[in-house]
């Protein structure tokens, strides 16, 4: 099977701080992958590399069978195709939301990608219902609650129907109920055939949103395997600071 994303010995540093240190990873199409790892292990950086927002200092990244480089994305047609296929939900929803209303926020992505207007209106109306945002339609996104913002951010990306969905801690800083709603939305994507890559600290909901888990440590892959196996490996989880020492899962 060919890999959708193929990363080989990727290094990335923020000025002097190394964030990815020789990371190699292959993600096959249709897989739901969870990126696990302690704070600072490189999850967010990896997502940005996958989304073609950061480019590695060394090593190679291949996406959809073609090299993902600054030069490749400088080509408008390539960038257009790539942005349509890959969606990214940022950890900080405030950063992602800047339109005057929720309606405009959902329409932003499709508009920038040049979909026909009538289709955009139709899609936005549909998404408002699907993400339970109809009542918030004319509200300003930055004045919503944390959970509502997250739903808008998710909807604003999923409305593009990307083949690949990248998410950075979609449930962080949400109350249990809002987190539950987000998890339910993500779990509903299971049968859509999408590739979903989620960075998360939330081990409890892991099984609902991912089949495979990749554990990062110090900018490298420390382990990967089916979610159940990774969750059962307490020694690994403790070593990579995902569990409190001596804690039991449940």
């Amino acid at each position: 099977m060919t890999a959708l994303f193929d990363l080989n010995d990727v290094h990335y540093a923020y000025r002097d701080t190394p964030a990815l240190t020789g990371l190699s990873l292959a993600v096959e199409a249709g897989r739901r992958v969870a990126l696990l790892g302690a704070n600072g292990s490189g999850k967010s950086t990896l997502l940005r590399v996958l989304d073609g927002l950061y480019f590695p200092d060394s090593g190679t990244v291949t996406a959809f069978g073609a090299p993902l480089t600054r030069q490749a994305l400088a080509d408008e047609a390539t960038a257009f195709a790539f942005r349509r296929r890959v969606g990214y939900v940022f950890q900080n929803a405030d950063i992602q939301l800047f339109n005057p209303t929720v309606f405009d926020e959902l329409a932003f992505g499709p508009l920038q990608l040049g979909l026909p207007r009538a289709e955009i209106r139709h899609k936005v109306e549909e998404a408002l219902v699907r993400f339970d945002l109809a009542a918030l339609r004319d509200r300003a996104p930055h004045r919503l609650s944390g959970g509502e913002k997250k739903r808008v951010a998710l909807a604003s990306v999923l409305i593009l129907e990307p083949d690949v969905l990248l998410m950075d801690e979609p449930t962080a800083a949400l109350d249990p109920r809002s987190a539950g709603e987000i998890i339910a939305l993500l779990a509903a994507l299971q049968d859509s055939g999408r590739t979903v890559i989620t960075a998360t600290h939330d081990l409890d909901s892991l099984a609902a949103i991912a089949d495979l888990a990749v554990v990062l440590q110090d900018g490298r892959v420390a382990a990967q395997g089916p979610v159940a196996d990774i969750l059962a490996d307490h020694a690994l989880l403790a070593r990579t600071r995902l569990l409190k020492p001596h804690a039991d899962l449940r």
Partner: protein
């Protein structure tokens, strides 16, 4: 980040931090209000953004050009009238523009009062410097022109959703880079304000008792530096988030701007105003 998480601060001696915090919070609240005003039903809100932009620019230029005080006053009055029919509270216009501009240009205009030679009206008490009619006139022009232009500028910004303003700038052939920079500046400011409020709240919640002045100064300068760093990070992030959603520089909106009858009427009104101002204000 919550603009509503703000707890009314207890004032321990009205410290610098507290005042800084309150100023920032007030600014943030204004920023948020601006968004609301743009969506209220009102005369200016209902006009095509291009008409508003062109009108505001023309009236600002006219305010700078007119040579008679009554016409300048009429233009300022027109701005106030437009604010009223567009649900912009005059108190707000006064706070945000008139007082600020007066403080600033008033300072610049003061020397003119005594330095411009001409018919002496009266002498300043104590100093007995002569105030001339011509001096008074040029000071009034300076302040009046600044007040009037600033009023039209603020009305434009308050009554137009930000993306629409950006798009009309593009339609008026303002270079793309400039529009993108303006757009990002808007995001920077917004995120900066959020960040500032968070920071001030965090510092405040950690400051248990009154600090010695030196310590306080250190805190404030530290906060300012950190804020700048954060703003740059956040602005960069915001830009990445836009790129991730397909933004390539050009702004596309759902609604094409459409000129309607009321835009035609507004343009006619604008033309009449400009001609009248030119006729009576020309000398």
């Amino acid at each position: 980040m919550g603009e509503h998480s703000f707890l009314p601060g207890h004032r321990h001696g009205g410290g610098v931090l507290d005042r800084l915090g309150e100023g920032l919070l007030a600014a943030l609240r204004h920023g948020l209000e601006a968004d609301d005003l743009a969506r209220r039903p009102g005369l200016l809100q209902g006009l095509d953004p291009r008409v508003k932009l062109a009108g505001a620019l023309a009236l600002m230029l006219m305010a700078v050009w007119v040579r008679t005080l009554p016409v300048l006053a009429a233009l300022l009055g027109l701005a106030a009238g437009l604010a009223l029919v567009s649900q912009v509270p005059l108190a707000r216009l006064m706070r945000q523009v008139w007082l600020g501009v007066l403080a600033f240009t008033g300072l610049l205009a003061l020397p003119a009062l005594v330095l411009v030679p001409g018919r002496v009206l009266f002498h300043l008490p104590l100093l007995s410097w002569p105030v001339t009619l011509q001096g008074l006139r040029s000071a009034a022009f300076l302040v009046g022109r600044a007040e009037t232009s600033a009023s039209y500028g603020l009305l434009l910004i308050l009554c137009t959703p930000w993306p629409h303003l950006l798009k009309s700038l593009r339609l008026l052939r303002v270079p793309l880079v400039l529009v993108v920079i303006l757009g990002m500046t808007h995001r920077y400011i917004f995120l900066l304000l959020h960040s500032a409020v968070d920071l001030v709240e965090a510092r405040r919640s950690r400051a248990v008792g009154p600090l010695p002045p030196r310590e306080r100064r250190r805190l404030v300068t530290g906060a300012a530096g950190e804020l700048l760093g954060r703003a740059l990070d956040l602005g960069g992030e915001a830009h990445l988030a836009m790129i991730a959603r397909g933004f390539g520089g050009e702004i596309h909106l759902l609604d094409d701007f459409r000129l309607r009858t009321r835009d035609g009427a507004a343009l006619a009104g604008l033309a009449l105003t400009l001609v009248a101002a030119w006729w009576w204000g020309g000398r």
